[in-house]
Amino acid sequence: MRAPASLEDLIESLRCLPGVGPRSAQRMAYHLLQRDHIGAHQLVKALDHALEHIKHCEKCNNFTEKAICELCCSQRRNAELLCVVEMPADLLMMEQANCYKGLYFVLMGKLSPLDGIGPKEIHLDRLLRRAKDGIVQEVVLATNFTMEGEATAHYISELLHTQEIKVTRIARGLPVGGELEHVDSGTLAQAVLERRVI
């Protein structure tokens, strides 16, 4: 027996979520319909509201409900520093670490050469315009230390090379409080390669 069309529709729609296959989608649909009508209504409202009101900040590209987000408007931030991160979650981590008082640019992705995600797809032209505002003195590259994150950092550094802007890359190495015994070989090898004079 086939499920009613509207149920099939719901299951199919849930599959647009990352990592959700047909089985999980079916489980979610049953749960919402059978056990959590209130939750389902809230989900509809929240999704609808977010779709209507959330857009990308004109300056940092992060999600916001305004044209320019609160962080970008803040007078307490150092506008000479611009930190480039891949995702909003990375920005939140930076903020949690409470180590940086500059502004941000969120790529909402990274270069992924084998997947066909190039400079155009992650809007590096917008980053270039943002960095050339005449105030930014240093761009801090905080993309991930994956091969893709490294490629992204390289591309941006080349992009900004011709401008009068200093480009820096956050350092990598052993975690704070980390013990050699427990660190993975790749991290240790890179830390030895990038050792510094003290």
Binding site: G19, P113, L114, G118, T146, M147, Y155, S185, G186, A189
Partner: protein, 242 residues
């Protein structure tokens, strides 16, 4: 140890590419020394504390252990071999280019031990040398040769005579160069004998050789790649235009 053809332990390999699979896993395209290109699933590799996470890096020699009969094997263990500096900057972009070529042109489970060795040597060359052009051209030629599409670079395929550096030739795919003379070259690529001879000896000091050899390799590779262009080639082009 019990021999089991579905199970392989500590095989030398490289990661060519990885992409997310379901919520916490990765599909990893690997190039193994003895079994060729094998896609594997690394279960839970996207979890923050996964032991696989920091090790499944492209361009680093690894030992992989896997099992399974299906097209997608299950990766069990990754061991870091190291001893090779990681690729940085332009060398890294070139590394992606090599990987895309291999992902696109290597058939699954078609062993190419020689090519594996050569790939490893090429990565080391990329990490230690500044001039990437000869490294890429050498790799492309070696790869085509290992895949059974070796180029003819020393003699005219119609006359069997050695190439003359001063002459113009028409290079036809899967045949080779033939003297251009008064004929046209609509079914091939026109280039100088000097370029072909330089490619044969691996001399890329001449600027025309560099230009024409790049065009020739692109012409030939496009034939085997089919309609879908190489993404990394566009990225290399974008970088050069900055």
């Amino acid at each position: 140890m019990i021999a089991n053809k579905y199970r392989q332990d500590t095989e030398p390999a490289f990661v060519l590419h990885a992409y997310p699979y379901l919520e916490t896993s990765l599909v990893v395209e690997t190039f193994t020394r003895n079994f060729g290109r094998i896609p594997m699933i690394a279960k839970g590799a996207k979890r923050p504390r996964s032991a696989l996470r920091g090790l499944l890096l492209a361009f680093q020699p690894l030992h992989l252990s896997w099992a399974g009969k299906s097209e997608l094997r299950t990766l069990h263990k990754v061991e870091w071999q190291g001893g090779q500096p990681s690729l940085q900057g332009m060398a890294l972009i070139c590394g992606f280019y090599l990987n895309e070529l291999l992902v696109r042109l290597l058939r699954r489970e078609d062993p190419h031990e020689q090519l594996f060795e050569y790939y490893q040597e090429t990565l080391i060359a990329l990490s230690s040398q500044q001039d990437y052009t000869p490294i890429l051209r050498h790799f492309e030629q070696r790869m085509l040769k290992e895949l059974g599409y070796a180029l003819t670079l020393s003699y005219d395929v119609t006359t069997n005579k050695p190439l003359n550096a001063q002459e113009k030739y028409c290079y036809e795919i899967e045949r080779g160069p033939k003297i251009l003379g008064a004929g046209d070259c609509s079914r091939g690529l026109q280039l100088s004998g000097r370029t072909l001879l330089d490619m044969e000896t691996g001399d890329y000091s001449d600027s025309i050789t560099r230009q024409q050899s790049k065009a020739l390799m692109r012409y030939i590779l496009n034939h085997y790649l089919g309609d879908q262009p190489l993404h990394t080639r566009q990225l290399l082009k974008d970088l050069q235009q900055l």
